[in-house]
């Protein structure tokens, strides 16, 4: 923890509503406050459609927020013009989930990695640029013999290394990792996770690590935020979240992971009923209420606020400490 230092990334009441035909509104992200200290990793976990990727994109301004602020190093970037935003791209990068579709199949590996360096004119000539790209290949563990290969000749793990090298090419401070290992096999997934952690240590990177997989996020995160239908339902240091989950949804997520341990066989996996409700024109009330075993009358009528239940551990649940409005 960095004490009083200013967080590198901060959002305040970040909100994104997508307008649909007929005037309905899809609440993709509904008031999210994030704060990530320099050199730390925030894990963002949730199921498909909970808005976790949208948060990442809002922070990078790849999508414009409906309301709310994004602060980078204390500066509100939502007012930045194109030129300043372009400068900021040096500092903020993203690694996408699918290494198959996020890189241009007609460019060679070295061209893909050098592309951003060219665009931002970091070096005067081609030779220096390509030298830098080759260095990046070493950094992410891609053998230089692949420099002139095309993405289709490489496997998923190597393609993801290209994506990582490209994200690193401008010496960023902050990287949004949007499900970077979900498309990979376990043995390769472990290689890439270790690489991301090594790079973080070496270059003091700050990550926002978006994933649906709780067991992955535990290894890499300092803090973890659990999202459900556009809202943060729980935020805690990683060990605290696993040892002492407070929100029923976090609990359900943890219970639902099949563990590679046969001593737990036979016990029915505890399963929550129902499915995620529609994020379109959401009604007031806790969004998890319909699936929750502890649902009370108040849960159906009022939104629980995110409150600090113990130091550093916030939760949005009436059962766990949120106070009802009078």
């Amino acid at each position: 923890m960095s004490g009083q230092d200013m967080p590198l990334i901060q959002t305040a009441n970040l909100r994104k509503l997508f307008k649909l035909k007929g005037g309905a509104k899809l609440h993709a992200v509904d008031g999210v406050d994030i704060s990530i200290a320099s050199g730390e990793t925030l894990g963002v976990v949730g199921e498909s459609g909970c808005g976790k990727s949208t948060v990442g994109r809002l922070i990078l301004r790849l999508i414009e927020p409906t309301s709310g602020q994004v602060l980078f190093n204390g500066q509100d970037i939502s007012k930045f013009d194109r030129r300043r935003m372009r400068e900021l791209r040096h500092d903020m990068q993203i690694i996408f989930q699918d290494p198959y579709s996020s890189i241009d199949p007609r460019m060679s590996v070295i061209e893909i990695i050098a592309e951003y360096i060219f665009i931002h004119r970091m070096f005067k000539n081609k030779i220096e640029t390509f030298n830098r790209a080759a260095e990046l290949m070493d950094m992410v563990g891609l053998a230089r013999r692949y420099a002139n290969s095309y993405p289709h000749e490489l496997d998923g793990g190597r393609r993801q290394r290209i994506g990582i090298a490209r994200a690193l090419s401008l010496d960023p401070k902050f990287i949004v990792c949007d499900e970077p290992v979900s498309a990979l096999d376990v043995s390769i997934q472990a290689q890439i996770l270790n690489l991301l952690m090594d790079l973080q240590e070496e270059f003091n990177l700050t990550y926002m690590f978006v994933t649906h997989d709780l067991s992955v996020v535990k290894h890499i995160s300092n803090k973890i935020m659990v999202m459900y239908l556009g809202k943060c339902v729980e935020l805690a240091p990683f060990d605290e979240l696993f040892d002492n989950p407070k929100h029923p949804y976090t609990n359900a997520l943890l219970e639902a992971i099949p563990e590679p341990d046969i001593s737990r066989r036979g016990k029915q996996m505890k399963v929550i009923r129902g499915e995620v409700a529609s994020p379109i024109d959401v009604k007031p009330g806790c969004r998890f209420a319909a699936r929750c075993d502890y649902c009370m009358e108040i849960c159906k009528n009022q939104d629980p606020e995110l409150v600090e239940a113990s130091p550093g551990h916030s939760v949005a649940c009436f059962k766990a400490g949120s106070q009802p409005n009078p």
């Binding site: 472990a190 270790n194 290894h219 997520l253 639902a256 992971i257 046969i262 066989r265 929550i272």
Partner: protein, 337 residues
């Protein structure tokens, strides 16, 4: 696998499958032997490209006809070699006595047909003279069984969520009460909480109907919770097989299986770094001459690079590794949890 005969439903022996194109020959499945016992579930585990799906498609004889070729081996179902019977006979078995559930429910359903009609289609196909009312009744029963209200039979696949679609696919597979269900990564495309729901349902139906199952997965967690037996595949070979107890808690473990366990992010450990298996799976069109895992193996010996290991049997536990030849049994790292 010792007392062959009575309780073995599906017995695959020395199966060898290749994909042949003008450019290269891919050895997808190499000398694979597996057995699924009646009413039991065999988990087939491995990473992308290990040959799991090819094995499953071979059982149903659904390999792509232009490239896929079964070179040798036997696939005995109820004592009858499926590789010897003609296509008409195969059609009676396929979907009726052996059914398959594919990974992606979004693409395995027909988007312009109601889900009720899709279930009815399977029943009609295999029960020629069944009256309409009887079919309707069976469609409703089967929908109820997989947890979908029967009124939804008139809806189209796009009106269902991913988890619900996979339930429909499972309903179609179970509609003819197959003796063997092959499920190829049935929950990989689903969210964790929905995956837990679908897995519980599969488990319950399997126990209720007594269906034997071949469950293909890359997730050792699912194997631990659902399967009775396990076979671990790597680069087209079964490198280890046995009961779940043999593989998860037994005293011997193939170095690849040990590596898989070590690569898993562990919910209970405090360690920050994971322990991946170095390197990548070999190119199946250019396999190493010795053990297929040797190039990545930490316990590699001279013999590993020279000779392909033979399968060693220890009770129900079978290992294909030179470490376990000739009676010696050095412990291999990677604790069962």
């Amino acid at each position: 696998m010792e007392n062959k005969g009575e309780n073995i439903l599906l017995d695959i022996e020395n199966l060898k499958v290749i994909y042949k194109t003008d450019l290269e020959t891919v050895e997808a499945v190499n000398d694979v032997s597996l057995a699924v016992r009646r009413g039991r579930t065999l988990g087939l585990v491995g990473e992308t490209g290990a040959g799991k799906t090819t094995t499953a498609l071979s059982i149903l004889r659904l390999l792509p006809s232009t490239t896929g070729r079964i070179l040798s081996g036997k696939i005995e179902f109820n004592g009858e070699d499926l590789l010897k019977i003609d296509e008409n006979m195969m059609r009676v078995i396929r979907g009726n006595r052996i059914a398959m559930v594919f990974q992606d429910p979004m693409t395995s359903l027909n988007p312009v047909m109601t889900v009720g009609d899709q279930i009815a289609e399977a029943i009609e196909l295999h029960n020629g003279k069944m009256p309409k009312e009887e079919i309707d009744r069976r469609v409703e029963n089967i929908l109820q069984m997989v947890g979908i209200i029967p009124q939804r039979r008139f809806e189209y696949p796009h009106q269902f969520s991913g988890g619900m679609k996979q339930r429909v696919v499972i309903a179609i597979a179970l509609s003819c009460e197959p003796e063997l269900l092959i499920a190829d990564e049935p929950t990989t495309a689903l969210d964790v909480t929905i995956q837990a729901q679908v897995l519980n349902m599969i488990k319950e139906l399997r126990d209720r109907l007594g269906t034997a199952m071949l469950l293909i997965t890359h997730d050792l967690g699912i194997v631990a919770q659902i399967c009775d037996d396990v076979a671990v595949m790597y680069a087209g070979e079964v490198i280890e097989s046995g009961s779940v107890e043999d593989v998860f808690t037994g005293d011997a473990r193939h170095p690849y299986t040990a590596g898989l366990f070590n690569s898993l992010p562990d919910l209970h450990s405090q360690a920050k770094r994971l322990k991946p298996i170095p390197g990548l799976m070999p190119d199946p069109s250019n396999l190493p001459p010795g053990c297929v895992f040797a190039p990545r193996c930490e316990s590699r010996m001279d013999a590993c690079e020279a000779h392909r290991p033979k399968t060693v049997q220890r009770g129900s536990h079978r290992l294909r590794c030179h470490l376990f030849g000739a009676g010696q049994a050095p412990a291999v790292g990677g604790q069962g949890r």
